[in-house]
Amino acid sequence: MIRRVTLALRLLLGAVFIYAAYTKLRQSWLLFALSIDSYQLLPEWAVFGLARTLPALELALGVLLVAGVWLRYLSIAAAAILALFFSVMVVSYFRGAGIDCGCFGLGEPLSAKTLFRDGVLLAAAVVLVAYTRHRSNP
């Protein structure tokens, strides 16, 4: 049972990270920089740095999750990244910033729906962390 849930969760999260990376890499990195900048939380140098590196990081994380290697550490990394995204989105949403989510390319406004979706993904990542720890410490 645990093995099946772990497999399903890592495939789900891996696919989501790969798709998120694909939607960003197929367009100019500067368009993603604009999405990050609209959150109005980071200085310009950090906006540019994040826009250049995050899609590659998401791709690597997605591929490794699907491959199922270093699962104990990668599940923690996935949960940490999703927790960061979720916190930033919650803060921006309640600040009333009418902005793009920037999650899967352009054109998706930050909304209750996007918060719910990221919340579900975060919950999935937390469960994956718990299950991989369980498997590592029988």
Partner: protein, 197 residues
């Protein structure tokens, strides 16, 4: 199919653009420019004020006025902003007097005060001569002014504008929505990659 939809959208944008013969300053830059920015904005929205003052004015000066792109302002007064429609009507009327920029700047600069008091007229009047004020009142009654704003709102709705400010940057026939406030440095870096030399 997607290309056809983009072409239709582009045609709608061109048709809805402020008429060239009215020396409108709501639109700047050559109609034939390869890059077009359609800005959907609300005079009562605080984020629109920030975008206007920090980014749009410079984009207009550095890109549109230099012929590198076409920038078109569309009104998108949100229902929750009580005085936004009135402000949009007065700004559109001011455009016919060639005073759009002055009125838009004043409306954004004093947004906080008229958003609370509702005294939009006083702000508009502060940048007009007595004669211009009289003319503006007459022009504002023209049903075409309100119809133009309604057209902008319909266009925005068709383009899935969900909040303000939203810029639709169209390049190579592909519209890219940029939602919210973006800094000039970041935005100009992107624009420089698409406007060409």
């Amino acid at each position: 199919m997607q290309l056809f939809a983009s072409a239709l959208l582009l045609a709608a944008l061109v048709i809805s653009a402020p008429a060239a013969q009215t020396k409108s300053t709501r639109a700047a830059g050559p109609v034939t420019a390869a890059v077009r920015i359609d800005l959907f904005s609300d005079f009562q929205c605080p984020a629109c004020k920030v975008l206007h003052e920090q980014t749009i004015k410079r984009v207009k000066e550095e890109f549109a006025m230099k012929g590198k792109l076409r920038l078109v302002h569309h009104d998108f007064p949100l229902p929750q902003h009580k005085y936004a429609r009135q402000a949009a009507i007065l700004a559109a009327a001011a455009d016919r007097l060639g005073k759009y920029d002055d009125v838009a700047d004043a409306l954004f600069r004093q947004q906080e005060s008229w958003s609370q008091s509702g005294n939009v007229d006083a702000v508009v009047d502060s940048v007009l001569t007595p004669e211009e004020r009289k003319k503006l009142r007459e022009i504002a009654k023209d049903p075409a002014i309100l119809a133009g704003i309604e057209r902008d709102v319909q266009l925005g709705t068709r383009m899935k504008v969900g909040s303000t400010p939203t810029m639709i940057v169209t390049h190579d026939g592909k519209p890219n929505p940029v939602v919210g406030v973006v800094n000039y440095t970041v935005f100009s870096k992107y624009l420089n990659t698409i406007v060409g030399p």
